[in-house]
Symmetry: C2
Subunit: 309 residues, 2 copies
């Protein structure tokens, strides 16, 4: 039998799955925490051995990893959650361990690719994928191809300044979309408002509010929470208008926990987007939709990547 | 003999040129003001007849026109300087008049394409072209192909918000890069400062200052003029950092009158760009350079487009 193996290296867990030559349902899957007593690359090899088939040929391994990384060489340049991996040749390491072809790409790029091949992006040629959770990740499909750029670092739509001298971003710069519309930004605004004495049901929680708490409070009608969700969604909507002017896609796929807040996020998002496009032609026929693959988007993108090799 | 015809429709002039099967020097060229007593499409046909060869075959006409337009159908959707052209089928009109294939694309896209084929972009695969004059036009080359998007409206890097609720842009939106770093924005800031009583050599001019006046005054050491150029260049530099995160190009080509101001523009531009990238890898090997084709970039892009048909 012929197999493919897909890997998704997240901030908290490393996940691996074994797939048949075709089909998107894994035959086996396993996961472990990303950080532990041994180096992450040792833990990853051990994890892969647990799903490795004894009865056939693995054609290759596809890996979704946090960036910045070099997908052409399969090298992790730096990744905030795995300090040991600086200029780490992940593809070479796995190739040496298993003797099969290995392809590595940015997790958000591969989530975009997964959604495009198997999820909410099927059937279109020009797609933006933006995932809004702790940070804001993104990937872009241009005429049926993943946008990589000269060194594979393209597609970082979360790291574009939308407010001059705005709040500090996870990357160290200021005013990036990620610093204004991510779950982290939503939670930070709520905590700052409570610290400043704002009246809100969020003050009744037993812990500091998370972005999920803010979403729930907004759904229940809390004024502060609604205002915070509206502000974050407005930033995302105005940024999306700029991305429509840049890419003129036919589909925009939004993933991540924050966009699951429903109306309290989507309505101000769509209002801001509609008001900020410079010509109605940019919205003509554009489908703005929820991602379909959930947490498996990166894994399935890694699968699509290694199958295409 | 075999010929190609290229057309560049600008805000003030329509220009046409006749080219041989290869070579970038026009055999004949003509121009007329864009607006006049007759409709622009009638004037354009008459202009083309003046350069049309009697001794051979024209293989096709390539047209650079102001957008927004539909390059797939050759239809001008709307263009501020030619109010009569609303949903105007320019390609069909010229095809009917001359009986040859006609291709139409956005002037900034074609200037990018011209620079990539024949100018400052030769030999690279991933390039941004930004032209800073009255407005800010742009075009993007992704892996050797012009970025068009689903309906050919992509590449509008000048119409991305860089300051929330910033000054009004020519497109009607607020805070776009064009509203902060174009020649129009530079002149507007200088005029506003003078009206508010700022001390500057610009106050000694016999007319309201243009952006070229501001550039000259900055070169001569005028404090207000230097501050205005620094601010505009800073906006462009920070926006370029975002575009590097989005596209990860290997070359950035800057055209238009404003970037000819020299050090007073380029030094703050490069400083802002360097400070605003989120990882040095985005600048690694990136060449930031002046456009090479001047006013002929659009015409030569139209030539490259029709030759490739």
């Amino acid at each position: 039998m012929v197999y493919y193996v897909a890997v998704d290296i997240g901030g908290t867990h490393m996940r691996v799955a074994l797939f048949a030559a075709d089909g998107q349902k894994p035959l086996r899957r396993e996961r472990v925490p990303t950080l532990g007593p041994q180096p992450p690359e040792v833990r990853l090899v051990a994890l892969l051995r647990r799903i490795w088939p004894s009865d056939g040929m693995v054609q290759g391994i596809g890996v979704a990893a946090p960036g910045p990384l070099d997908p052409y060489r399969g090298v992790i340049l730096a990744t905030p959650n795995i300090p040991a991996w600086r200029n780490f040749p992940l593809a070479d390491h796995l190739r040496a361990a298993f003797g099969v072809p290995v392809v590595v790409d940015n997790d958000a790029n591969l989530a975009a690719w997964g959604e495009w091949r198997y999820g909410a992006g099927r059937g279109c040629r020009h797609m933006l994928y933006v995932t809004v959770s702790t940070g804001i990740g993104a990937g872009v499909i241009v005429d049926g191809r993943l946008l990589h750029g000269a060194r594979g670092l393209a597609g970082e739509l979360g790291h574009v300044a939308v407010v001059a001298d705005g709040p500090r971003c996870g990357c160290g710069q200021r005013g990036h979309l990620e610093a204004l519309a991510s779950g982290t930004a939503i939670a930070r605004r709520a905590r700052a408002a409570l610290a400043a004495g704002a009246v809100s049901t969020l003050a009744d929680l037993s812990a500091l509010p998370t972005s999920a708490d803010v979403a729930r409070a907004a759904q229940a009608g809390d004024g502060l929470a609604r205002e915070i969700m509206t502000t974050a969604a407005g930033h995302l909507g105005r940024a999306l208008a700029g991305f429509l002017h840049i890419f003129n896609p036919e589909r925009v796929v939004l993933g991540g926990g924050v966009v699951q807040a429903g109306e309290v996020f989507w309505r101000p998002l769509e209002d801001a987007l509609r008001q900020a496009v410079m010509h109605p032609a940019y919205l003509d026929g554009v489908l703005l939709t929820r991602a379909a693959l959930g947490d498996d988007a990166g894994l399935l993108g890694a699968l699509a990547l290694v199958r295409a090799k």
